[in-house]
């Protein structure tokens, strides 16, 4: 028989241990495990980046046929410069990029314009159907991959909804008194957003702006515009790929070209794909990726058969690899802008413009 004193001592010790344990578990739910210094989980696909914030749609207007203009309001919005875009995280979780087309000086809100793409991947349809006045939406950014270059003269070329990053550029050039010209093409005048504002900007010197509606005027005369450009002017172009290719082909010597594809994440039709080379730095080999074949497939067939991958459609992230050099045409739906700076999903993404990529493999 244990003595009464022993029983009391053991009982008291048990109580003390229980209280001590309870206190620790309250402060640290998985005590005694430590925590990871920079937690990874719980950041969502958004990547939990500091630049993600929830904004409210405060204005929704029809800017042109099939084009919706949204004004999103929030507090402490970061400043931006013409050419910047934001990532919009749609209610379904899909992430789409839209250029900011409002006034950078209006600090409390961002303005976007979104064209409904009937046969697209559903992002623009979701914007049109699900973002109403009062809807909250997650926005990341802004970031600028298409800044306005310093120049003594500007030539702007916009195709359709590609006007969105160009418009703030035109306003800035106008404000700073830098000479500019704008060629703005579209399917029809009714479908071209911001026409009224642009014609107002053109003011008296109406030949600064050329509006070309395909149904009335046919195709824009890019050659004439570029030939008449001031020497050493900066050309900024945003629109469909064929327009940008045509501008690149016609560009006279001395002019510098800056472009932005307005659907960076949309997979290009196979006809647009070009072959390119991929250098595997650690393996010490170079592989040619033919048009119509993914980097993943080319590498697996020609060099590294055990490369991990899974979905082959750019969403699961298994095939992410580090890029050491070269410009990537990102076609995935997963990576954040920060991740895109130094990595790619090799199942869908390619080298931009058929240039060369160097991978850490």
């Amino acid at each position: 028989m244990p003595r009464i004193g022993t029983v009391v001592a053991v009982g008291a010790a048990a109580l003390v241990v229980r209280r001590a344990l309870r206190r620790r578990v309250q402060a640290s739910p998985l005590w005694p495990l430590p925590a990871l210094d920079e937690p990874i989980s719980g950041r969502g696909r958004a990547g939990g980046r500091a630049d993600a914030r929830r904004l409210t749609v405060v204005e929704r207007t029809t800017e042109a046929e099939g084009v919706l203009r949204l004004r999103l309001e929030g507090t402490d919005l970061p400043a931006w410069e013409p050419g910047a875009h934001v990532d919009l995280v749609l209610p379904s979780g899909a992430v789409r990029q839209y250029s900011l087309c409002g006034d950078p000086a209006a600090r409390g809100s961002y303005t976007l314009a979104v064209r409904l793409v009937e046969d697209g991947r559903g992002g623009s349809r979701e914007v049109h159907e699900r973002l109403h006045e009062g809807t909250e939406v997650e926005v990341r950014g802004p970031r600028n991959r298409f800044p306005l270059a310093d120049s003594h003269a500007h030539v702007f070329i916009a195709g359709g909804i590609g006007i969105t990053p160009i418009l703030p550029m035109v306003r800035q050039a106008e404000r700073e008194g830098v000479p500019w010209r704008l060629l703005y093409g579209g399917r029809s005048r009714a479908s071209m957003p911001f026409l009224a504002e642009i014609e107002k900007l053109a003011g008296a010197g109406a030949d600064r702006v050329t509006v070309v509606a395909e149904d009335e005027d046919g195709r824009p005369d890019l050659a004439a515009l570029l030939a008449g450009a001031p020497p050493h002017a900066a050309v900024h172009c945003c629109g469909p790929q064929p327009l940008m290719d045509a501008v690149a082909a016609l560009l006279p010597d001395g002019l510098t070209l800056h472009t932005e594809r307005f659907a960076p994440a949309a997979p290009a039709p196979a006809g647009e794909e070009r072959p390119f080379e991929v250098e595997l730095r650690r393996t010490g080999r170079t592989v040619t990726v033919p048009a119509g074949t993914s980097v993943l497939r080319a590498l697996r067939e020609q060099a590294l058969p055990d490369l991990p991958y899974s979905c082959e459609q750019g969403f699961c992230g298994t095939c992410q690899q580090r890029v050491l050099a070269g410009e990537v045409d990102h076609r995935d739906e997963l990576l954040t802008d920060a991740e895109r700076d130094d990595s790619l999903l090799i199942c869908v993404s390619r080298a931009r413009g058929g240039a060369r990529l160097v991978l850490d493999l």
């Binding site: 990871l36 989980s41 697209g120 991947r121 991990p308």
Partner: protein, 304 residues
């Protein structure tokens, strides 16, 4: 002879199905904190999944990428590749729930940061000499995953059949997440075990890693329920009790303790093969009608 045969895993060939990842997305805006109405204890018991799976399934993918070069069987290789993509999507999908919990005043970060440490550091890659030591650590982790997958398949099969959740009016989006995930777990339930058998298959390792995984799951789960109940802003005196867990089982909104106990000898049987339990046809049928899975299907085939 028959005696000897029964000591080997006995797969059921008809349960095999080709695997592919589905690009699902869920909108949590309308999901209430207690998504099983009026039953916070059971809600939080299931919510522990969201704490463990983002880091855990990310770790599966990490380990399996390293295992891929050792797979010498074409069909198993295809299975492992499909498995990796499905697990990556599970991890992403559960991770998306965590900010939603935080928005509702239940910040999961203190717990998930420790789970992150468990999978990234304790179970992560170690600086081991190439050769035997490194291979041992890889095999140990592959065996752990096989043991954990026994339980994910168990839970997947349970949630596909848990009609009580519908009857109680559980949130349809959360149910679709759990059943899409559960159905894919049932679809690929044999892959982890097949990979383990392909690379090692030792019975002692199977038992040892099962004991580790089971102990860890019990520890993580009870601490997780306790964490949620104590930090739930809507509960004045939230406490996790074993009695509530048994009650959930009786009501059919949680697996029963008896079913869990019965699943233990299944895994430890020498003739165990995951295809003996669960129903692939049921899983495939669910995926054919799941709102998230069908939307993913439409998005990947129709998208340009």
């Amino acid at each position: 002879m028959s005696n000897k045969a029964s000591l080997r895993p006995q797969p059921v060939a008809s349960e095999h199905t080709p695997l592919k990842a589905r690009n699902v997305a869920f909108d949590w805006a309308d999901t209430p904190l207690h998504w099983i109405p009026g039953d916070p204890a059971s809600t939080h018991t299931i919510n522990v999944l969201h704490l463990l799976l983002p880091a855990g399934e990310r770790w599966f993918v990490h380990v399996y990428k390293q295992a891929l070069p050792y797979v010498r069987d074409a069909r198993l290789r295809a299975d492992v590749i499909g498995f990796i993509g499905q697990e990556a999507m599970h991890s992403q999908a559960h991770d998306e729930v965590l900010p939603h919990l935080k928005d509702q005043g239940l910040d999961p970060t203190p717990y998930t940061a420790q789970v992150d440490w468990l999978f990234e550091k304790l179970l992560g890659d170690r600086t081991l000499p190439p050769g035997r030591a490194r291979r041992w650590w890889l095999l140990e982790r592959i065996a752990l995953i096989a043991a954990i997958e026994h339980y994910t398949a168990f839970l997947g099969d349970w949630v596909l059949n848990a009609g009580a959740l519908d009857a109680r009016g559980a949130d349809p989006t959360m149910l679709d997440l759990l059943r899409w995930h559960g159905a894919e777990e049932v679809e690929h339930r044999s892959v982890a075990f097949d990979l383990f058998v392909h690379l090692d298959g030792g019975y002692r390792r199977r038992v040892r890693t099962w004991a580790t995984a089971f102990g860890a799951l019990v520890f993580l789960w009870q601490r997780g329920i306790r964490f949620f109940m104590e930090n739930d802003p809507t509960l004045a005196d939230g406490r996790a009790t074993f009695r509530e867990f048994l009650r959930g089982g009786r009501d059919g909104v949680l697996p029963t303790a008896g079913a869990m106990a019965r699943s233990i000898p299944q895994y430890l049987s020498r003739s165990y093969h995951p295809s003996q339990h669960g129903d692939t046809a049921q899983a495939v049928a669910y995926l054919a009608g799941s709102p998230a899975a069908t939307a993913a299907e439409a998005g990947t085939t129709g998208g340009a």
